[in-house]
């Protein structure tokens, strides 16, 4: 039963990937834009800045002003990668050293707390609640459950079934909901780097006084 579900999880992951690729195809079907204006700066440097220095709290004001949310977001997303690792571990039957497993468990636990705190913040903060739609709550809650079940599955095989079912639901939901930003985040950030890099805004040309 668990083994069959494991195959289904792999199929679900493949479906999710295919659906995301289809979304990418649909996105590009709207047409690519050619830049006609002559560049003033480097797109490579712009993209690097957009992904690395431009995400740091001392560079990005919105991150610096909201440090708890910023760090909760980082930990949350790092934990999601850990949970996918755990899922792959279960499905493939590969085992890891205890120290590595302990590290993953720690990551998952902290990540689950961070995810729940972001959900609470969304519910409790008036303006945030007003800009949120059902998808925002559902996506967060689904991922939180996935994190918790992943964590428990490392202690007891009894949690394998709930983990696989949660994973299946999540893989089905990712392309439909806002979790698809797992793809669009990287592309949007890349585009921002290109935009401001060509214009010589990224990276900033001098140190601030």
């Amino acid at each position: 039963m668990t083994k069959t579900l494991g195959y289904l999880v792999v199929a679900g992951a493949l479906y999710c990937l295919t659906a995301l690729l289809f979304m990418a195809y649909r996105t590009f079907a709207f047409g690519r834009r050619r830049f006609y204006s002559a560049p003033q700066g480097s797109t490579v440097k712009g993209v690097f800045y957009a992904f690395v220095p431009g995400m740091m709290p001392w560079e990005k004001e919105s991150a610096g002003q909201h440090l708890p949310t910023y760090f909760a977001g980082i930990v949350y997303h790092a934990g999601i990668f850990c949970s996918f690792f755990i899922l792959a571990m279960h499905v493939s039957g590969v085992t890891y050293p205890d120290w590595f497993l302990s590290l993953l468990r720690l990551g998952l636990a902290v990540s689950a707390v961070a995810g729940l705190s972001l959900l609470v913040k969304r519910i409790a903060t008036k303006n945030l609640a007003r800009i949120s739609c059902a998808d925002d709550y559902l996506s967060n809650a689904l991922v939180d459950v996935f994190l918790v079940v992943s964590l428990f599955s490392t202690y007891s095989a009894g949690f394998l079934l709930p983990l696989y079912i949660t994973a299946l639901v999540m893989f089905a939901y990712i392309p439909a909901g806002k979790i698809r930003h797992c793809f669009f985040f990287f592309y949007a950030r890349f585009l921002l780097g290109v935009f401001f890099g060509r214009r010589n805004t990224f990276p900033p040309q001098a140190r601030r006084d």
Binding site: M23, R26, T27, F28, A29, F30, G31, R32, R33, F35, Y36, S37, A38, Q40, G41, A50, G54, K60, E61, S62, A63, Q65, H66, T69, G73, T125, N127, L128, R130, I131, S132, C133, A134, D135, D136, L138, A176, G177, K178, R180, H181, F184, F185, Y187, A188, R189, L191, L192, G193, F195, F196, R199, N200, T201, F202, P204, Q205, A206, R208, D209
Partner: protein
Amino acid sequence: MESATFTRNSEINERLNQLTQADLDKVVETFKNKLDHEYTAYLNACVHCGLCADSCHYYLANQEFESIPAYKLALVTKVFKKYFTLGGKWLPSLSGAKSFDRKMAEAWVDSLFGRCSLCGRCSINCTIGINIPYLIRIARSALQSVRLVPPGLQSTVDTAMAKGNNMGIPREGWLDTVQWIEEELRDELQDASAVLPIDQANAIHFYTVNPREPMFFPLSIQAIGKIFHAAKESWTMSSENFDLTNYGLYNGDDAAAGEMSDRLVRALKKLGCKTLVLGECGHGFNSNRWEANQWLKKEYDFEVKSILQLVAGYIRDGRITLDPAKNKKTVTLHDPCNLVRLGGIMEDQRYILRHAVSDFVEMTPNREKNFCCGGGGGQLAMTCFSDRRVNAGRIKAEQIRATGARIVATPCHNCVDQLGELNKHYKLGVEIKTVCELVADAMVP
């Protein structure tokens, strides 16, 4: 969807009430035609984290929910999802997808025209990196397709299209003004050879101005004449096409915007000039340096430069000599969003001011992180939103006050106007000058 608070302009309200289903469909169709893979990727990417709120001067000033950039963007993404995503079509309540109806049209006009100066500060602070002002601009384009544009902004575009410049200055009036300023320049320099050349064939630089200069700020043109004369520059202005402004950037009318920019290109070509030089105007720089090529879908075989780049070069090359002691008062610099964050011209103005004034202090934050003064995005032309504009300018006013400066320099005439209004409203007690005016004041004969 939140109910819009836009009830101030009877002309717009009348237009909203007249909207037919065909008009609403046309907005969606125009919006679709403006989409490309970049915009579509951005529209799929917002996670509603809300961290953009504190980056917007409108929200900081009025703390109104409708001023949060994520809300403004959501108005656009709701419509996008409804018509262009499977999830939005099949299960709209999940993602908040909404049809474009009269209520949505009202909300778009209120928020996308009335609560945004397209300054781009939210973009660099966006967790994802969504280019929010460009999405708002294509939504403005869609509204423009059914003439749902605040009248002051639309009439500015209409005047520019009909009369060749956005203030409707007739050719004779322009030439008379230039002649008068030229005489003033000769008197000031005590040099009969000082000229403000018009239609000089094969001059290297084709210089363009904001029509507010001949109308209200002739000293700006005189300052440029003084600098070019001292640098022994080869330059000219056009008797017909001198207006570098382009409010098509703001009302979203790409065809009109392209035509306005192309007039400058045609005039430059006709005179055989090598460089299009843009005077001190932020949106004019963004329009003609970056956007015009996209509107016209062509590459240029000539350079497009800001006057600041030329003047900084003159100082570096020793073609003009400045004495900073001639400008003793403390000077701070306001960075126009379209020139700096969206235009990439950050250091030339600083280099110039460090040579032209004896006490230069920066605002905090500055450069690409600067706050908009509130005058961009066509706000100065949209009188129906004047109260909001002045209120949103409070953030800039506080920045200025904190520097203790007596002079605010800015290389943009729209910013000069807004800062002048903020100066009076918030009793800042400062002088507002352009960068080139300070250079002219500091020049050593």
